[in-house]
Amino acid sequence: MDIRSQVSMVFHLDKCIGCHTCSIACKNIWTDRKGAEYMWWNNVETKPGTGYPTKWEDQEIYKGGWEKNGDSVSLKGAGKFKGLKNIFHNPHLPVLDDYYEPWTYKYQDLFTAPEGDDQPTARPISLVTGEHIDVKAGPNWDDDMGGSPDYARQDVNLEKLTPAEQEAMFQLERMTFHYLPRICNHCLNPACVAACPSGAIYKRGEDGVVLINQERCRAWRMCVTACPYKKSYYNWNTGKSEKCVLCYPRLESGQAPACFHSCVGRIRYLGVMLYDADKIEKVAASSDDQLVDNHLDIYLDPFDPAVVEQAKLNGIADSTIEAAQKSPVYKFVKVWKLALPLHPEFRTLPNLFYVPALLPTMATVQDGIYDSTSKSLWNGVDKNRLPMKYLASLFSAGNTDKIVDVMKRLMAVRLHRRGVTTGDISKEEISSAMDEVNINADMADAIFRLTSLATFDERFVIPPAHREESIEMLENTADVKGNTGFGFKERPVRGL
């Protein structure tokens, strides 16, 4: 057993209001630079929808992620042979137009326009060429299902549905959507790391954050292809790839990453998970139906004395083990079994888990009459407006049982709380719903508390980084006093 610690995350989709505050917080700190304008290390998409970059989930186009290859896995569109062969031209690289051409407005024109009969306008200009452009796409062009025929209907996950099911989803009275905020998953089996020919991308041992060494990146662009979530971006100005850094300077000083900190819906949770690194390859090569179970099994119980002992032997700090025991992620994922990974079939073993949205359940249309009366308060999960198959395609590699189980759990908690607060539901109904998924009142209350009332410190349990130890190993601590910080040593320009 090779126990390592990983900073992991949970996003509770029921609470996301799609406000994009997270994206803006990230943009203001990290990507408002030349060449990075088009990058959204954190982005929020509307599902169903095509996302950003367009159709990123379709690996027939982008060739991202891993493929099962016997007892092991191999990269779909990169790797030693394919990568070096395609080094002069990468056939699977998304180009700027697959994201969007970033733009600003010529505000100066508002002041300098000569007097005339018309209002002066600030025309959009491209941030790449500086010329006027007609804006045709943006990072969230399909927000709230805007332009559904062009976007929502192109959602790759709909392929799993029969044409009739697809049609039913787009009937006006059935229409529904939810938001999907995405950041880099800081995967256990990162495809970006494996695909980088220069060895510039690495996973930090201490906390599992995946970073790109800007000094070693040589613009071979293989990570952009390999990451199935398209969370590694190419900076066309510096000739370097960049990706979400999980705000590691903030993490190291005990602060939550900016997108977490600023999240208006408080949907985000961050905490440590202990896992067994020896199992990574085997888990990544599991068969499709066991993928999710095996993935969740790789995370260990931080209360198990054997695990704690082994973790200590492996050099994991006591403070980190303690953080793992308090981790909200551990509760959501392992104890309450409410959160699932996004697209586990990409086999990168992502560390960002989603509590799927318990969307409004469906009314029925009978003889053209919209009937929303139901026997029970919230109808059954099988009446969910988004078919279970659709959610399964997102969160469980097509395994509908897993999604139904999570939905029933979420529903049981709601029924229980309804019973506590208003008491208008019969005891039998509540207890049968709770018994079915093995949730007792205490657990339901705990879930409710962490979901709805949790304070900042309950949502983000950040292990101390122990930077003092790493600095001590390198040099005298006094020497670096006042020296810490980040930034460019050289002007970030393209070559010479």
Binding site: F88, N189, R221, L474
Partner: protein, 241 residues
């Protein structure tokens, strides 16, 4: 005099600039060492230019290298006219491929607005040198045929004499071919420009990718050593700090 400058001074100056410049740039301006790909801004036309160009140069580079390192083997191969013909035609084909590639690349740089934005002054020099180098090479191959045979008896001694610090330029200076002289001079000019241009990227071709493990985990400190303080050791100062 000009022969002395072109075939003795230039090679040495170029090689010194190349060696010192490349090491300096790699060590102290590492951030700028990159192939600065523009595929992200324009992909399709790059394919038609970059592939024939790079593969052409790739084969020709090793062709020249083999002719220089193993002249006898090349001569032996060329003993039969048919084989000589095959070799020459193959080499010429790759030369043409590089030529077509570079023309398409130049055209792309000139006409695509987005690619223009990321074109630096040094890129202009890169393309000029490449054009001179490739066109003169094709002219040599056409006018002074069977280069694979005379290279060994003619250029190999000259280049070797440069490397053993005993330059012999009589043969090259007396040769009656402008294209050949231009080809040699522009080759050394190209070498001198490597540290100042995107030519740098061929030096960092990631061959070590072949034998490294796919996943890379980097530890800030030796986690096991830190727990038992008697094993406390001083780590290596990492380059980024």
């Amino acid at each position: 005099m000009s022969n002395y400058l072109l075939f003795i001074v230039l090679p040495y100056v170029s090689l010194v600039i190349f060696i010192i410049g490349s090491i300096y740039r790699y060590k102290s301006r590492g951030f700028s060492v990159s192939s600065i790909s523009s595929q992200f801004l324009e992909g399709r036309r790059l394919f038609w230019g970059s592939q024939p160009f790079h593969w052409g140069l790739f084969v020709l580079f090793f062709g020249h290298l083999i002719a220089f390192l193993f002249p006898k083997a090349v001569l032996a191969w060329n003993g039969e006219p048919m084989r000589l013909l095959i070799l020459e035609i193959t080499a010429f084909a790759f030369g043409l491929s590089a030529f077509i590639g570079v023309i398409l690349l130049v055209q792309r740089r000139l006409t695509n607005r987005r690619v223009q934005i990321v074109t630096s002054k040094m890129d202009v020099i890169v393309f000029l040198i490449l054009l001179v180098q490739i066109i003169s090479g094709l002219l040599v191959a056409y006018h002074n045929r069977w280069g694979s045979s005379w290279f060994a008896s003619f250029l190999t001694p000259y280049i070797r004499s440069i490397f053993v610090f005993d330059p012999q330029i009589d043969a090259i200076a007396s040769v009656n071919s402008w294209s050949l002289k231009i080809h040699v001079v522009s080759a050394f000019t190209l070498i001198a420009f490597i540290p100042f241009t995107r030519f740098m990227h061929f030096l960092v071709y990631p061959l070590d990718y072949l034998w490294r493990s796919y996943q890379q985990v980097v530890w800030n400190w030796n986690r096991k050593a830190i727990r038992t303080s008697r094993a406390h050791s001083f780590g290596k100062k990492s380059k980024n700090n």
